[in-house]
């Protein structure tokens, strides 16, 4: 329920300023240009921007323009096709906040939120265990990360067979003598639990890799010293690993929450939101493409964006991003 692109984006932005160097001040002697005419200076000033042209154009075209359009649509009654659209002011927003059934679907997010807690715990456990020397360590790492590499649509279809009547899950259960007659995706509680389970299966690998990377950046001497002092594995985790990867855990928590609020593909592919599994994004898609209410759907998307920004902000205030300090 988290996305790599977001993670990558965050780290990229943060890393960029430190790596940037003012041209001329850095670099060894003799590497810079020899003559300093006005043209040369202009060129030098423009150089970083020239390098940035391509990414900036892409960023603006594919991020800011669509977002701008979306915000504009959210104030209209556009149906998505018609050349006419009327400006309706905040009408769409009023609708969203006055219709309780629109917000009711957020309760479904709690299933995914609970699942993401499990997901982080599982990932943390395996990351810790596998960061120590273990037989078949790399094999297990591969196995754990593998689900994340599979396309979400394929996962949806696979698990549809898994949960179907007399499907994989039922037959596995029957080996253990559990004769099950339950339609897993058939009633709201078990359907949402099942879908959240699929989500855990899919995204644990991502969390696992993030944690593993962080854990491996901890200097080995610390473990050695701890072992000499007679620290148990649990104590090592509690006093060395956990504090040193706190920023990554915090990041995972943010991604988990925003991911839980915007779950889409797994429930959409597996149940299309039937039987009480509809999420806010599924509902938004239905507004736009089933009932031709592109304006209302855009407003819903803007609201979701704001909610996620708000949640992230609150979380950053509560758990500030401190530098992990071990020594």
């Amino acid at each position: 329920m988290t996305e790599t692109t977001e993670t990558a984006g965050v780290t990229e932005h943060r890393a960029a300023p430190s790596r940037r160097r003012t041209p001329g001040t850095g670099g060894g002697a003799g590497t810079g240009p020899r003559h300093h005419g006005p043209r040369g200076r202009l060129l030098r000033r423009a150089t970083p921007w020239l390098f940035l042209v391509a990414p900036l154009v892409l960023l603006v075209t594919f991020t800011y323009v669509p977002v701008g359009n979306m915000i504009y649509y959210s104030f209209t009654d556009w149906d998505g096709v018609s050349p006419d659209r009327n400006f309706t002011g905040v009408d769409n927003y009023v609708q969203i906040f006055t219709r309780p059934e629109i917000f009711r679907v957020f309760f479904v997010s709690f299933y995914y939120l609970a699942a993401s807690v499990a997901q982080i715990v599982i990932a943390l456990y395996f990351a810790t265990v596998l960061s120590f020397d273990l037989r078949f360590r790399n094999l297990f790492k591969g196995i754990l990360f593998f689900p994340y590499l599979i396309n979400g649509v394929a996962i949806g279809f696979v698990f549809l067979y898994f949960f179907q009547d007399g499907g994989t899950l039922d037959s596995v259960l029957s080996w253990f003598g559990v004769e099950n007659d339950h339609a897993w995706l058939g009633d709201p509680a078990s359907a949402n639990t099942s879908l959240a389970g699929v989500s855990v299966w899919r995204y644990t690998g991502l969390n696992f890799v993030l944690f593993l990377g962080a854990i491996q950046s901890v200097p080995g001497e610390l473990y050695e010293a701890a072992q000499l002092d007679g620290a148990t594995r649990w104590q090592q985790f509690r006093y060395i690993i956990a504090p040193s990867i706190r920023p990554v855990i915090g990041l995972s928590a943010i991604l988990a929450i925003s991911g839980s609020l915007s779950v889409f593909e797994i429930p959409y592919i597996m149940t299309t939101g039937a039987t009480g599994t509809s999420t806010f994004v599924i509902q938004t898609v239905k507004f736009a493409f089933q009932f031709n209410k592109t304006g209302l759907a855009s407003a819903a998307a803007v609201v979701l964006l704001l909610i996620i920004l708000l949640v992230t902000w609150i979380q950053r205030r509560l758990v500030p991003d401190e530098k992990a300090d071990l020594v």
Partner: protein, 440 residues
């Protein structure tokens, strides 16, 4: 300082692009797309957008084009098969580039047809020759011609029903339910298959509006605050039957994981008793029967279990996609020539086992049972479809979407709280409120 200017610059660019981005869809001319008088005179390359990617890939469409070229030698026809037809065309219609001939997507509202398509002729004249033409008629002009139509009813396995001791078509919903009971008790097959997971087959139930009361104007009557689910309303009859089937345990055990492709072979092999579908499905089911080694003749089609005053069954005829000419097309004559030829002379509808658009053409073999048993074909008027759809969308019910019936099934099998009466009342309320708000 530098940071600020960049930011401001970004927003300016965004604003500029946003504004230019909304210019799409220029004014279209209202000139009629006439077929050329002299076939040899029509020329140009036309692009036909189609949802039948299978026929494009198999070369069947090119074969049609080759036939077409025998009459219109100078017209080159190119096909573009779109897998997600509705989604892709809807987006392309924000530009002027959406082929020369296209199927009218369901998302385009009827009142917008004149902005996107060229008129094909006067409504009165077209209605005499073609079925379903009033579905695309706006202000006395027709904008699209149906590729073909389908009759509506239940696909069923004749052998299975015979084995269960049901040889007569049920005449009332109660008889139908009793028939399903017998199928369940005597054969052990799944009497009715909902296709809940794939969802779209549930939409077929809506096509029965008109079958129940044999009323050609049944859909037009929904335009307004008319409580469609009130006692005696057609939608109530239809939805109650579906509800009772599920509630009585006469449908598959786990609806949440049904599989449309697999269901075809299952009905052919007698593992499923019946499904509510259009007559277009008969050929597919018979193909599946052949592949599964079952007898294609076992696939039968029966009308909705209701009779009119004179004791006859009725089956609504509903149109498939309508072909239209892009209002921005540079080769309207050629485009029109293709539509006319494809509808009238290509043999497409006969091959698909569908109801022909031309009124004078005979019914297909697949509907032989209906013809033999004097089933009345209700050619439903679609005059007010635009208004009905507007109410439907505003109410967010979706008569032609799966969601509200999925919820109905969930209520019937106890996965969702509430009673069916409450649900109907709620639907009525939403419908009426939307109708009043839209002022119709």
């Amino acid at each position: 300082m530098g940071k600020k200017t960049t930011l401001a610059g970004t927003f300016l660019t965004v604003a500029a692009l946003t504004v230019t981005g909304c210019g799409g869809g220029g004014a279209a001319s209202g000139e009629t797309a006439e077929a050329p008088g002299d076939p040899a005179a029509a020329s140009g390359t036309i692009t036909v957008l189609t949802q039948r990617t299978d026929l494009v890939q198999s070369g069947a469409m090119d074969a049609y084009a080759a036939e077409f070229n025998k009459i219109y030698p100078k017209v080159k026809v190119e096909f573009e098969g779109l897998t997600d037809y509705e989604g892709e065309v809807k987006i392309r219609m924000n530009t002027e580039d959406y082929g020369d001939v296209l199927m009218i997507p369901a998302s385009v509202s009827k009142n917008d047809y004149p902005k996107f398509f060229s008129p094909l002729g006067a409504a009165d004249a077209m209605a005499k020759k073609y079925r379903f033409s009033d579905k695309t008629a706006v202000d006395g002009k027709v904008y699209g011609l149906a590729q073909f139509g389908t009759a509506n009813g239940f696909v069923y396995n004749k052998a299975l029903w015979r084995k269960a001791g049901v040889t007569e078509w049920p005449a009332t919903p109660q008889e139908f339910l009793a028939g399903l009971e017998k199928v369940k008790a005597k054969t052990g097959a799944v009497p009715y298959y909902t296709n809940f997971k794939d969802g779209w087959p549930l939409v077929q139930w809506t096509a029965n509006i008109g079958s129940v009361t044999c009323d050609n104007y049944a859909t037009n009557k929904l335009a307004g605050a008319v409580s469609p689910w009130k006692e005696g309303g057609e939608l109530r009859t239809v939805d109650t039957l579906l509800h009772d089937i599920v509630k009585g345990g006469l449908s598959e055990k786990d609806p949440s994981t049904t599989n449309w492709e697999a269901s075809k072979a299952k009905i052919a092999k007698g593992e499923i008793g019946s499904m509510m579908l259009g007559s277009w499905s008969i050929t597919q089911m018979r193909d599946a029967a052949e592949k599964a080694g079952a007898d294609p003749a076992d696939i039968g089609f029966m009308p909705f279990p209701a009779k009119d005053g004179s004791g006859k069954y009725c089956a609504t005829l509903v149109s498939d996609y309508q072909q239209a000419v892009n209002a921005h097309s540079a080769h309207k004559e050629a485009a029109r020539a293709w539509i006319d030829w494809f509808t009238e002379k290509s043999g497409y509808s006969a091959k698909e086992g569908a109801v022909p658009t031309i009124k004078s053409a005979p019914m297909p073999d697949t509907l032989q049972d209906f013809v033999d048993n004097d089933v009345t074909f209700v050619e439903r008027s679609e005059r007010d479809t635009g208004a009905v759809n507007d109410i439907d969308n505003a109410a967010e019910i979706g008569l032609n979407k799966q969601d509200y019936r999925q919820k109905l099934i969930d209520i019937a099998r106890g996965a969702e709280k509430g009673s069916v009466e409450e649900y109907f009342a709620q639907l009525d309320k939403r419908w009426n409120e939307a109708a009043e708000a839209s002022g119709s």
